[in-house]
Amino acid sequence: MKEKEMNLTQDQAQTESAYPSLPKEKLLWMYRTMVLIRRFEETANDLYMQGRIPSTLHLYIGQEAVAVGISAAIRREDYVMSTHRPHGHALAKGVSAKAIMAELFGKASGACKGKGGSMHVGDIAVNMPPAIAIVGGNVPIAAGLALAAKMQRKDFVSVCYFGDGAANEGDWHEAVNCAAIWNLPLLLVCENNLYAASTPFNKAFKIDYVAQRSEAYGIPGTSIDGNDVMEVFRTAYEAVARARRGDGPTLIECLTYRQCGHSRSDPRTYRSKEEEEFWKAKDPILRFKNYLLTKKDIDEKELSALDVSVEEEIKEAVEFAEASPEPDPAEVYTDVLKE
């Protein structure tokens, strides 16, 4: 899909009246992908509750705008490094729902042949290495991918997703600093969902926004409404352009909220009901749907049709996963070293 050149300033990006004219296909893709992520996660949750998935899950419900907004701004050749909460990033990058679902079931047809599990989904064919479950561990690697682009004189970029908690890891600081001094083509995408597991933001930070740290490293940084997919897209687009130009990394803090617990064993008693209701009202999918229906003159029927196709895709994914064989026990010994 060809990108249209966007000539937007930061200011313009903030105002609703100056929406870029993304082609309809793209907008529909964005909507459908957000719904796909939402429905995938809800389905996975149901399966987990029914005891049909062997492991716990870290669900992306409520944060869909970040993954989709970023992914709308990048190409297949660009790399994505994800975290322990990777399903949304993976679906948005182009890893198939079937492959991810089969991986959750621990089947041989899974994205990692059943050897990775929920926290490590990825697919190198779409330039997404296995997600890294060590908080902050993915940031230096993302910087390395960006370094390769520079050394190879190619214009692909590297996107690193991480949460607010990761910005306190040593690895994060080392990597951001290196990316800064070497002007690496790196997007540092912070999904600030206000909690690191159960630890609220203000318990771990003296500052108010993670984006403030960008100044300490001499790179541009911004804090945006992470539940506004268009804003995420516009910010990402700018950052990508900067990176491809050789102007170095950008820190994009997306303020968002995970509507469910940290993992499936999280009763969320550290958050108030009011807070959860507040954020539910700012649900990214509802907002985008509203935007499309009112501002972009897209037919409700089209969106419904997309909803239906998502249900189909997920249903197939579940059936595929359940029908797939388990890995041969002997597979435990393979794929450690490349011969």
Binding site: G116, I141, E174, D335
Partner: protein, 337 residues
């Protein structure tokens, strides 16, 4: 054929690989700074002039980033040779090496690989506990890594080349007292290990040890500096009529079990000499494997000669009592013949 120190041989290996393959580059602290030392032990001296500062990339003091960036670059098609200035700093990048580099291929179901090299100088040299440790054992325990330890100039060039060409993460342990570094970076107490190094493009295979001295009464397995102490001990033992077979394993992971096993079949006795502390050292693994595989060929218990279970001390008299010496090796052999 040229006469080279180990430092020179390593430098030559890096140079040849970088000439051969444009994807190869180095990253580490103080490795390319103009007017600098070419790394703490002069291995990269002069290379930044030849290849530029992008391919001899100086980093901030950020070990985790050095490792992680090397991993990322490797995934995207580069072939990085990263290094820590002192082996002890490997602990700073432990997560990246053990949780990421070692596991990524497996977690990906075999669809990607991480072809990186991490070089690390080890060995006690009167600098104190945090610049002295031998850490091979921490990495021989990690599936997904390879661990090599060249003790001669010939092996240094050949093994480093093999490591660069290997598609897996390879740790290359070098001994501070074996480099033969010169000038301002001369190491006190260094052994002058100058060897014949062929000028052509050769490699030493990873996973294959070598018999440095043949014998029939006891097998001694020793790496890096301990290899030379073992050879010295062997000469002294020979005067007492005991002929030791000394094996340089060269690779610790994967271990050349066949070589050691065949030697034990001949001698019936095994002594392992390592510079790290005794408990759970790499020698413990060799002992366990041979106690299993070679049990019915053993005429005596397996002995390990290692540093005591203490951090490396500073004062020279203490350090001499820490690092295994010839006498301790001889005592171990005599206790089982």
């Amino acid at each position: 054929m040229a006469k080279m120190t180990i430092a020179e041989a390593l430098r030559q290996a890096i140079r040849e690989e970088m000439q051969r393959d444009e994807r190869v580059f180095c990253l580490g602290e103080d490795i390319g700074i103009p007017g600098g030392f070419g790394g703490a032990f002069t291995v990269t001296l002069g290379l930044s002039e030849e290849f530029g500062h992008e391919r001899i990339l100086d980093t901030p003091i950020s070990e985790a980033a050095i490792a992680g960036i090397a991993i990322g670059a490797a995934i995207a098609g580069m072939r990085p040779i990263a290094d820590v200035q002192y082996g002890d700093f490997l602990f700073n990048m432990m997560d990246q090496l053990a949780n990421e580099a070692a596991k990524l291929r497996y977690m990906s179901g075999g669809t990607l690989s991480v072809p990186l090299v991490m070089r690390a100088p080890v060995g006690a040299t009167a600098r104190g506990a945090q610049h002295a440790q031998s850490l091979e054992a921490f990495f021989t325990h990690v599936p997904g890594l390879k661990v090599v330890c060249p003790a001669t100039a010939y092996d240094a060039k050949g093994l480093l080349k093999s490591a660069v060409r290997d598609d897996n993460p390879v740790l290359v342990f070098e001994h501070k007292l074996l480099y033969g570094s010169k000038g301002a970076r001369t190491e006190k107490g260094t052994l002058s290990i100058v060897g014949d190094v062929p000028e052509d493009d050769y490699t030493v295979p990873i996973g294959k040890g070598v018999i440095r001295r043949e014998g029939k009464d006891v097998t001694i397995v020793a790496n890096l500096l301990m290899l030379y102490r073992a050879l010295s001990a062997a000469e002294t033992l020979a005067q007492q009529g005991i002929e030791a077979e000394v094996i340089d394993p060269r690779t610790l992971l994967p271990l050349d079990e066949e070589l050691i096993f065949n030697s034990i079949k001949k001698t019936g006795r095994l002594v392992i000499v390592e510079e790290d502390n005794l408990t759970n050292g790499w020698g413990a693994e060799v002992a366990a494997r041979m106690a299993d595989k070679a049990f019915f060929w053993l005429d005596a218990p397996i002995k390990r000669v290692a540093a005591p279970d203490v951090p490396p001390p500073f004062a020279p008299v203490l350090e001499r009592n820490y690092v295994p010496n010839e006498e301790k090796i001889i005592q171990a052999v005599l206790s089982i013949v």
